[in-house]
Symmetry: C2
Subunit: 514 residues, 2 copies
C-alpha cells in the first residue's frame, strides 16, 4: 500500500539510514548537518508541525494575494501606530475591554495597544478628515488581546487583522456593493474552497423588531440574541430573549417567524409585498437599500454567492446599514499551533470576528458604520460614513496550513544552486553567483571551501531548488558549465546540459520563464 503516510515513513527510514552511514563513515559536519536537516524536515511533516519559515511563506502568500486585490480596486494603505491613547479605546469594546493591553505608566500619556484596526482607523479619519474626505484604505497589521493565558499560547495574544474600508459620502450602496465584490474576489483568490456570503441590513432587522413589539431599549440586546442562531437552536435563543432580556413571549414568537427566512432576490420581493412590514420606516429604508445592492451585485457578478439571511445580526453596536459574513464549507474548529482544539468562546454582546476562536467556517465579515468616526470627531470634520470588511487572515492561514502538503511549500525562493564537482572551486562558485545576482536570478552556493557533491545535492532537495549550475575544473577551463534540472529523475551527475558560460544567464532565464 503506497499511501502518502507510508511513503513518508519510508523516506524517513531511508534518510535516517543515510545519516547513520554518513556518521559511521566520518563524513564532514556540513554534509551530516544537511542530511539531518532533511530528516528533521521529513519528521516534521509526519507530526504535522512545520517550520516557522514555511509558515511565514504561507502567510506572505495570503497577504500578497489580498493586497493585490485591494490595489486592483484603487486602495491605499495607511499605517496607524500600535499605541492609541487609553481613552480612545475605552468604552468601545463592551466587556471585552478587559482584554486591552495597557502600557505601564512610565511617564507621558497613558497608552494602550490597539485591540482592532477599526477604532484606530476611525480615530485617524476623525483627526484627518479634511485631508481624506473620501478614501479606500486597507491595513494588514497585528492587534493585541490579553486573552486567557491558560488557554492561549504566546502568539495568540497577537494576531493579524486585515481590514478594507471605504470612507466618504457617496450615492447609496455603490461603495457597499464594491466592498462585497472585493470580499468575494479575495476569498476566491485565496482559494479556500466554496463560500457563501450571508447578508442582511441593520435597519431592516431593527424595523422588524419594532413591528414585532420589541421596546427600543431592548433592540440591541435582542439583536445580540438573534445573532446566536448560527450556533444555538431557536428554542434556546428564545429562552434567552424571555429569561435574560425580559421580552414578551408574543414578540419573541413573531421574531421567530421572520428570522428563519433565507433566500435571494425573491425573498426581497416577498418582504416588499408585506404591507405591514413596508409601513415601517426602517424596514422600508433597509429593503430599498437591499434592492439596490442586489441590483449592483448582479452587475458585479457575485450575486450567486449571496444568501439574504434575516438571522444574521452581528453583535457590534456600531453597524448602521448592511452587514455580512462569509462562511466556508471548510468547517471544523480551528486548532492552536500545538494542535490542541480551541473552544469557540461565546462572546456576550459582541460577535466581532474573533480570530482566535472564530466560528464554524466564518472567514470574513463587515458592514456599514456611519457613526463611529463621529464619536471621535471634533466639530471640524464631523462624522464620515464608512463601509468595510475584515478578512479573517488567521483563519485563512489555518485552513491553508492544514491543507498544504508542507513539502510543497518552498520556504525560500532560490532558483539556482551553484554546485562544484571535485576541487571545491569556492571562488568560481562565488563569481558565478555574482553573475546570477546581477542578472536578477535568485541564487545560492554552499558557504564551504570544499563541499561534498552529495551535501550540495541534499540542499537542493531540502529547499526544492529547481536548477543547479554545476561547475568542474575541466569544464571551466573550456569555458563551460552544466545546467541541471534538479526536479528531473536522473540522479547524480547524469542529466543536465553543457552550455558555454557566456550563455548561462540566458539559458537559465529561458528555463525559469517556463
Amino acid at each position: 500500500m503506497d499511501t502518502p503516510q507510508e511513503t513518508l515513513k519510508e523516506k524517513i527510514k531511508k534518510q535516517g539510514d543515510l545519516v547513520r552511514s554518513l556518521k559511521a563513515a566520518g563524513a564532514e559536519k556540513a554534509e551530516i548537518d544537511a542530511a539531518v536537516g532533511v530528516l528533521l524536515g521529513l519528521k516534521k511533516q509526519q507530526t504535522g508541525s512545520s517550520g516557522t519559515s514555511k509558515k511565514m511563506a504561507i502567510r506572505e502568500k495570503i497577504f500578497s494575494t489580498i493586497t493585490s486585490v485591494f490595489k486592483k480596486h484603487g486602495a491605499v494603505t495607511i499605517d496607524t501606530p500600535v499605541f492609541e491613547l487609553k481613552e480612545i479605546l475605552a468604552g468601545k469594546y463592551g466587556e471585552d475591554s478587559k482584554l486591552i493591553y495597557d502600557l505601564e505608566d512610565q511617564g507621558g500619556e497613558k497608552c494602550s495597544l490597539r485591540y482592532d484596526l477599526t477604532v484606530p482607523f476611525a480615530r485617524f479619519l476623525a483627526m484627518n478628515g479634511t485631508q481624506y474626505p473620501n478614501i479606500k484604505r486597507y491595513q494588514i497589521a497585528k492587534v493585541y488581546r490579553r486573552d486567557q493565558p491558560a488557554m492561549t499560547k504566546g502568539r495568540m495574544r497577537e494576531f493579524y487583522q486585515c481590514d478594507f474600508d471605504v470612507a466618504g459620502v457617496y450615492d447609496p450602496m455603490v461603495a457597499d456593493a464594491e466592498v462585497v465584490r472585493i470580499m468575494c474576489e479575495c476569498l476566491t483568490a485565496l482559494d479556500i474552497g466554496n463560500f457563501t456570503i450571508k447578508i442582511n441590513h441593520r435597519k431592516l432587522l431593527d424595523g422588524i423588531f419594532e413591528i414585532c413589539g420589541v421596546p427600543e431599549a431592548k433592540i440591541r440586546p435582542i439583536s445580540s440574541a438573534v445573532d446566536k442562531l448560527d450556533k444555538l437552536p431557536w428554542e434556546e435563543v428564545k429562552k434567552e430573549m424571555l429569561d435574560e432580556k425580559g421580552l414578551d413571549p408574543v414578540a419573541a414568537d413573531r421574531i421567530g417567524e421572520y428570522v428563519i427566512l433565507k433566500g435571494g432576490k425573491e425573498l426581497l420581493t416577498q418582504l416588499l409585498d408585506n404591507k405591514e412590514l413596508v409601513s415601517n420606516k426602517n424596514v422600508k429604508a433597509g429593503l430599498d437599500d437591499m434592492i439596490l445592492l442586489f441590483q449592483y451585485l448582479e452587475i458585479f457578478n457575485v450575486l450567486d454567492k449571496m444568501s439574504f439571511d434575516l438571522s444574521l445580526a452581528r453583535g457590534l453596536d456600531y453597524y448602521t446599514g448592511i452587514i455580512y459574513e462569509a462562511v466556508t464549507e471548510q468547517s471544523g474548529q480551528p486548532k492552536a499551533e500545538d494542535g490542541i482544539q480551541i473552544k469557540r468562546k461565546t462572546k456576550k454582546d459582541s460577535d466581532e470576528l474573533d480570530e482566535t476562536t472564530v466560528g464554524v467556517g466564518s472567514i470574513a465579515a463587515g458592514g456599514r458604520y456611519d457613526n463611529l468616526v463621529g464619536m471621535f470627531a471634533n466639530t471640524s470634520s464631523g462624522g464620515i460614513p464608512c463601509v468595510g470588511v475584515s478578512i479573517g487572515v488567521e483563519r485563512v492561514f489555518s485552513i491553508l496550513l492544514q491543507r498544504a502538503q508542507l513539502t510543497s511549500v518552498k520556504a525560500n525562493e532560490v532558483e539556482v544552486y551553484v554546485i562544484s564537482v571535485g576541487d571545491g572551486l569556492l571562488e568560481e562558485r562565488m563569481g558565478i553567483c555574482t553573475e546570477l545576482w546581477d542578472a536578477g536570478i535568485k541564487a545560492e552556493f554552499m558557504y564551504k571551501r570544499k563541499p561534498k557533491l552529495q551535501a550540495q545535492f541534499t540542499v537542493c532537495d531540502r529547499d526544492q531548488i529547481p536548477y543547479a549550475v554545476i561547475v568542474g575544473k575541466s569544464e571551466l577551463d573550456r569555458g563551460e558549465i552544466k545546467i541541471k534540472d534538479m526536479r528531473s529523475k536522473e540522479q547524480g551527475e547524469g542529466g543536465g546540459i553543457i552550455v558555454p558560460r557566456s550563455q548561462m544567464v540566458e539559458e537559465l532565464r529561458k528555463r525559469l520563464r517556463n
Copy 2:
C-alpha cells in the same frame, strides 16, 4: 522664469480660481470636493508636507526593493512577537534600557516591547537552534522606544528596523562577504546616491589596543571613545581617553597613530608588513579575516565601495569579528515629520544605528556577533555564530521623501478610470469595471449616479491615473467605448480612440504593457 516653485504657485492659483467658480456656479458637492482635493494636494506640495498614503507608497517601495534583494539571496523571513519577556531584554542595551516599554502588570508574565530585532532573533535561535542550525533570515518590523516625549512625536516612538542575518557555522568570511554584498545591493537598488562602506575588524582593533598598552578592562571603553572619531576631532577623543577612561597618554598617542589609517587592500599589506602588529594573536586573526574578505568582496564586485577604516569601532559590545557601516553623500540631519530639525543624540556606550537620530549619512550597519545567541541558549543548542546588517530604512525613507517630487508619487495604483459622458450610466460603468477587474486591470469609477465629466477628469488628474475608458450612451449602443491616454495634452473629450467594447481589455493591456 519657469521654476518648479513658480509653476506650482500658478497651478495653485488656477485651481483656486476653479474652486471659486465651481462654488459660484452652484456646482455639485462631489465636483467641488474633488477640486478642493486637488487644491489641498498642491498646497501640501508647496509646504513640503505630504499625504500619509503617499508616504506609505514610498515606504512600501523601500520594503519591496529590499525584500527582493534578500530573497534573491535565498533569505526567508521569520516573524517574532512584539512582546518579549522582560528578563530577555534586561541588561542587553546598557543605559538605554530605560527606553524599553514595559507592559502594565495585568497578570501573567512580565513583558516588554521589543527594542530592536537582533535580541529577539538571537532568543529565537537559542530556542529553535536545533531546527535552524543555519539560516538566512530577514525581518522588517517595528521596534519601540520610550524616547523623550518632549522631542519626539507620536510615531517616532515606533519605527521600522530592517535586519538581515546569516546564522550558522561556515567556512571563514564566506557568509560575511555575502552580507556585505547584500548591503551594497540594497543601497544600490534603493537609489539613494553614492555610498561608501567603512569596514574594520574587532579583533584587529582589540589587538592594536593591546599593543598600544591598553589594559584589558579598558578595551571596550577605549573602543567606544574611538568610535566617536566620525563626530569629534582626535584631540577631544584623546581627552576622553585620558580624563574619563584614565588611559596612559603614551598609549593614547600610539592609538592615535593607528586610528587615522584608512585605505584599501594596500593598507592590509602595510599592516601585514608590521612585525610588531602581526606578532599579536588578535591582530593576526583580524588581518587574516580581512585579507580573505577583501578577496571575496573583489569576486562579488563590491570592492570599490569599501573603505578599510581603523577608526570604525562601533559601540555595541557583542560584535566579535568584522564590523561595517555604510555612509552616504546625502548628508544633513534628519528631520521630524513636522520639519523640525532633530539633534543627533550622542549615545554613551552604544552606537547602534539609532533610527531617529541617525548620524550624518550613516545608513546601514552591522557586523559579526558570535556569542549573542549563546547568552540565551541552554545546553542543547549552544551558541550559534551570526553575521548581519541593519538597513536604516527610516533614514532611507527620509532621504527619498526629501528628494521625491511628491507629485510624481502615485498613492494608489489605479490604471484605468471608467468615466461617463452625459447620462451618468452608473450601471454601465460598474459593468465595465467588473470586466476590467476580472482581467486583472486596476480600475475605479466614481461612486455617483450622475457625476459631472469635469469631476471625473479631476480625479484622474489628482490620482495620476494613466488611462480613462469613456462611455457614452450612443457609443455603448453601437458597442463601442473610448480609450483616452490621460497624460496626453489634448484636453477634454478630444483625444483618445474609439474601440469595440469586445476589444477594450486587449487594447488596454497592450497600452499598459508599454
